[in-house]
Symmetry: C2
Subunit: 284 residues, 2 copies
DNA sequence: GCCCGCCCATACGCTCCGGTTATGCATAGG
DNA sequence: CCTATGCATAACCGGAGCGTATGGGCGGGC
C-alpha cells in the first residue's frame, strides 16, 4: 500500500491535536480510523513516528523529521490545487547560474506578446540540472549536456567562456586570457558541475581548484583575489559585481547553452519557449 | 473527494506514456481505471488537464502547470519516504537573512555534541517567516514577531541595528550613524518585511525606499552607493562583501532575534535547539 | 489501594471506492 | 468502406477503510 496524502494529513492532525481522538474530530473521522491510518503509515515507513503511552503522545525524532516533511508535501499539494483551480497557466523555467543572459529580457518580453495566457516564471535553482530532475521545472536552461536517455534539448546559444578575476588583479588590465595561463592559478568551481569546466584542460595541465556551490559565494571569493573563475559570458551581465571583472578566454571552446525538457514531453507552452529561444539564437 | 497522490501519479503516467492504455500498464492497473482517475482529478480541480481526441492526447496549458507541480509533490513525497525509511532524523532550521549570526558556528558545534543522532540542517529561505508558514522548517530564526495565535517563540538574541553603506560613501569613515540622518537617503528594504524596518522612524520622517527581495541583490545595490540598508548586526559576519561596510546606528532599538515554531508543537529535537540557543544568549 | 475515567488498540460488520471486464463510440489509416 | 486503435461508459465485484463496540493499560481521585 503506497503512502497517500491521507496518511500525511492524519499524522499532522495527530501531532497538532495531541491526541488520536481529537485528531479524529479535526479530520471528521473516528478515533479508530486515525489509529489505524497512523499505524499503516508507520508500517509502510518501517519506523515509529509517535510513541503512544496512554495519557500522552510523544513524537519521536524521525517522527518530527517526517512531520516537517509531510507539512511541506501537503503545502505543495495544497498550492497545486489552488493554482489549478485558479485556472492560470504558469511555465516555470529553471536555470542554475544565469538564464539566457542578455537574451533573458527580450525573451520575457516576446513571451508576454506571443503567449500572454501563460505566465513565464524564471526560477533560479541550486542544482546542476536546474530543477529538471527534481521536477521543479518542466523546462530548464542548462550549460551541460543532459543525459539524452532522459532529457531532450536544443542549443539556444553559444557563449564565449570568460575568466572572472578580482578588479585589482593584474589580469584585470589585460584584454584576454589564455587557457594555459589559468593552470597556474587557483580555480573556483561549482561543486557539482565543476568537472565540465575542468575538462577544458588536458589531464595534468589542470589548475588547482577550490569548490563552491553558489554564485553569491563564487563572486565574493573571486573579489578577494584568492581564486579566479571560469564561466559563460552570460554571467557577466547577469551578475555584475563591483570588485569582479570578466575577461574573455581566447582559446577556449564556446559553451553550448541548451534548453532541456523531459524526454518526449512537449506541449504548446514549452513549444513556444523552445521556438522563441531558438529564434533569438538565430538572430544573434 | 480530496486530491490524493494516486491522482497525481496517474496524471504523470498519462503524460509520460502518452496514452491512457500505456499509463495503465505502467501503473499496473487497467485502462478504465486510469480514465476514471484522471476524470476524477479534473472534476476535483474543475479544469481539463488533458484533451483527449481519439488517437492522441494533448496536455492543456493548465495541465502542464499542474503536471509540473505534481512532479514536485511526488518528488517531495518520495523523498519523505526515503528519508523516513533511512531512519535518520533531521531538524531543518530555517532562516531568512542571517541565522544566529556569530553564534551559528558554536550552536552547530554544541548541537553535534548534545544531539548527534539528529542532523541539524540550516536552510536559507526566501520568505519572511523563514519556511515556518510553508511547512518547510519546523523551527525558524526570525527577526519579526510572528503571529502569536499560530506560533510560539522565544528571544534568543538582541542585535544592534547597523547601517550598510558603500565602501566609498562618506559615512564609511564615520564611527556610527543616527536614525535621523538616514531619512535623507534612499533605503533599500526587503519587499516583505520592510514595514518592520520602517517603523523605526516616525511617520513623516521615513526615508525614501526602494524594494528588493534577496540579500544578494541588496548587497549589490548598496555597493553601488545608490541606496543604504538597515539590518541586524549578524548580517555583518554572515554576508561580508567587499564594497559594503556596516556602521552601527546609535539611537535605534535593538532587534529581537527569535526562535519560532508552530504553536504548541515541541519534541526533544526542537527542545534541544531552543535550550541551546537560549543558553548561548545568556552567556553573551 | 481501589476504582473510575481517559485514551488507544483491536474486532467485527458494512459501505462504497476503486478495480476489472465488457462494450460502445469516434477517428485515422488502409 | 472497413478495420484497427484507443478512450469512455456500464455493470459488476472485492477489499480498503470507516464506524461502532469492546477490551486493556495507565494515571488520578477519593
Amino acid at each position: 500500500m503506497p503512502v497517500e496524502l491521507r496518511h500525511l494529513r492524519c499524522l499532522v492532525a495527530v501531532v497538532e491535536e495531541g491526541s488520536l481522538t481529537d485528531a479524529g474530530i479535526a479530520l471528521g473521522v473516528s478515533q479508530a480510523a486515525v489509529s489505524r491510518t497512523l499505524a499503516a503509515l508507520e508500517a509502510e515507513l518501517g519506523v515509529t513516528l509517535v510513541r503512544r503511552t496512554s495519557r500522552e503522545l510523544a513524537v519521536t525524532d524521525v517522527g518530527a523529521t517526517v512531520l516537517a516533511h509531510a507539512r511541506r508535501v501537503l503545502a505543495e499539494a495544497d498550492a497545486l490545487v489552488r493554482e489549478a483551480r485558479s485556472g492560470h497557466a504558469v511555465l516555470r523555467l529553471g536555470y542554475a547560474w544565469s538564464a539566457l543572459g542578455r537574451h533573458t529580457l527580450p525573451f520575457q518580453r516576446r513571451w508576454d506578446q506571443v503567449r500572454p495566457q501563460t505566465v513565464l516564471q524564471l526560477v533560479r535553482t541550486h542544482s546542476p540540472t536546474a530543477g529538471l530532475a527534481e521536477g521543479t521545472c518542466p523546462l530548464s536552461v542548462v550549460r551541460t549536456q543532459p543525459d539524452p536517455r532522459r532529457y531532450d534539448s536544443v542549443i539556444v546559444g553559444l557563449e564565449r567562456r570568460v575568466c572572472a578575476v578580482a578588479a585589482d588583479d593584474p589580469w584585470a588590465r589585460r584584454r584576454s586570457i589564455r587557457l594555459a595561463e589559468i593552470s597556474d592559478r587557483t580555480l573556483l568551481i561549482d561543486e557539482r558541475t565543476g568537472t565540465t569546466t575542468l575538462s577544458m584542460w588536458a589531464e595534468g595541465e589542470r589548475p588547482a581548484t577550490e569548490p563552491t556551490n553558489d554564485v553569491d559565494d563564487w563572486l565574493t571569493v573571486i573579489a578577494t583575489g584568492r581564486a579566479v573563475g571560469v564561466t559563460a559570458e552570460a554571467t557577466v551581465s547577469q551578475y555584475p559585481r563591483p570588485g569582479v571583472v570578466y575577461r574573455p578566454i581566447r582559446d577556449a571552446e564556446p559553451i553550448a547553452v541548451r534548453l532541456a525538457w523531459w524526454r518526449g514531453e512537449r506541449h504548446p507552452a514549452t513549444d513556444t519557449a523552445v521556438e522563441l529561444a531558438t529564434a533569438l539564437y538565430r538572430e544573434a
